[in-house]
Symmetry: C2
Subunit: 331 residues, 2 copies
């Protein structure tokens, strides 16, 4: 493969001149520039990016660490990352953390191959993240919180989302509201539940443990939880499912028992996944600002890279998406 040396030789100039010419420096005369470009074309020259990055001590690239490149993951979030990286002139690569300490992710986190990284991969240990972050190498974590001067954190405000969902039901006249929960070790779930509790409390509604049913974040789990709720013989006026998957399972269980949503009972979900719009009835739910989270993650990295000072942690508000699974509770 031709190097810049070959180009310089063929053009009859020094390497430095060739470099300037190829990088559109103003100090080169038009004539030599053309000559160098011609030589480059003839030799089919392509610069070695590694060499130039090494010299410049800058890659202009950020890495997005995913737990598995084959998904599934929040595509909106990735879109946010991608859009903002690209539009700020940065390159973006995605790599997977499969393989733990030997993964591609770790290689890119540690070996100065990129200028910064965004981590969305539960299977990468806190320790590795902590070891990787350093001055001039900012890290944004989207799935945990880590105490380090070079690690920034952006999250969706699940507590506020849980509050909002519950409050919506309360505002629509519901006094009895069940909470179908995700796994108890899920931070997201616990935050949503905390929001539910706060809404209840602030509105003078007592919590009843019979109305907190585990649903495991799966469609199947939501279905079973709902069947259980029905079996309890004392139906709440509304059900807040801690995610949409469970709500969809719940919808099916309700339908099987001749319960009309929203006439007989209201249902609200969380996530605003794609099919929520298409189920019957279309699901009222809480949308997470995933795109914004991705975009913000990139912004933070770029700001740090440019020497700016940024807060270590951000919490993004959720949004209520009203569709047709909630209506005013009858008297």
């Amino acid at each position: 493969m031709a190097t810049i040396k070959d180009v310089a030789k063929l053009a009859g100039v020094a390497v430095s001149t060739a470099s300037y010419a190829l990088n559109n420096s103003t100090k080169i005369s038009m004539e030599t520039k053309l000559r160098v470009e011609k030589a480059a074309r003839e030799l089919n020259y392509q610069k070695n990016g590694l060499a130039s990055d090494l010299k410049k001590d800058k890659t202009n690239t950020i890495a997005l660490i995913l737990s598995d490149l084959s998904g599934p993951y929040y595509s909106e979030l990735i879109k946010g990352v991608q859009d903002f990286a690209t539009s700020n002139g940065y390159d973006l690569i995605a790599c997977s953390s499969i393989g733990g300490a030997n993964s591609t992710a770790v290689k890119f986190l540690k070996e100065k191959r990129v200028d910064g990284a965004i981590i969305l991969a539960h299977n990468i240990s806190d320790q590795i993240a902590l070891e990787s972050a350093r001055d001039c190498f900012p890290l944004v974590v989207l799935d945990r919180k880590l105490p380090n001067d070079n690690i920034f954190h952006v999250e969706v405000d699940n507590e506020q989302g849980g509050f909002m969902a519950t409050k919506h039901l309360i505002d629509r006249g519901h006094k009895t509201i069940a909470y179908v929960s995700g796994p108890s070790n899920s931070l997201d779930n616990n935050k949503r539940f905390a929001g539910y509790m706060r809404a209840l409390k602030e509105n003078g509604i007592g919590f009843q443990s019979k109305w907190k049913i585990p649903g495991d974040f799966t469609r199947e789990g939501g279905y079973r939880a709902t069947k259980l709720l029905i079996a309890q013989q004392d139906l709440p006026q509304g059900i807040f499912y801690a995610n949409d998957e469970m709500a969809i399972g719940g919808l099916q269980a309700l339908q099987e028992n001749q319960l009309q949503v929203p006439d007989d009972i209201s249902v609200i979900g969380f996530d605003d996944i794609q099919i929520s719009e298409y189920v019957s009835p279309p699901l009222t739910t809480i949308a997470q600002p995933k795109y914004e989270a991705g975009a913000l993650a990139v912004q933070l990295i770029l700001q740090v890279l440019e020497g700016g000072k940024v807060s270590p942690s951000f919490s993004l508000p959720t949004k209520l998406v009203e569709r047709q699974s909630v209506k005013h509770a009858g008297v």
Copy 2:
């Protein structure tokens, strides 16, 4: 950031010794090795991957070029690529071709930042692919065919798949079979249609143009095509939809017209997308070996990199997935 020089100095050895020690060379005494490792730890040393790759003239990384990191795309294919790259000790990065000639993809294709690449991105021009491939930089394209000694091609045998689908219907006693087609500029579609035609011909069934209906590869298109077929008043015994999305739209249209599948009419799709299994009735369809295609792509690159000689083109057979949308046609 500490460099290997700093480590060497602190350990009181030469850089070369430090390098050998850190790379587990056998020629270093256990004692010095330990001393170097200790120094590295103290300095929090991490090697600069760019420098080492530059020196070694090898990155041990292959790139997967996607048209958009935020999907959607064939996750099974990516899984195949990822599994095989990882298990052969290669790193894999994904990058997007958004931005055309200025995209991250092009940067990685041209600037020797990776050892090889797999392209699954229609929005990257043939010209760029052709320019990027070179000796010692193999390229595998999954979505087109390109004449170049360093570009390899793997595809799914759509013609054979189309043949297989049609033949299945014929074997089940169907004499009249409609083809709901994708866009006429789709190569995949045309191959599937060619297979359909060959099956008809080989079994002495004449082609009737009224039974080739455009459906655009969308659910909506399949629905409309089917309505049209029904409106023609002369229903075929079976319908071969050129993809599952259309078949699902078709199923709905059939159901709306009180036509029972498979009792009144048989339906077969193509792709074996995830929901095919869950629609009613579960869809009989043609599965594409996407995982295998991804795995093969990696294998080809690795073989070329290791100096092996490989065929320029591969075509992978499809597989019939029998579910419940086809049964023997009545007399």
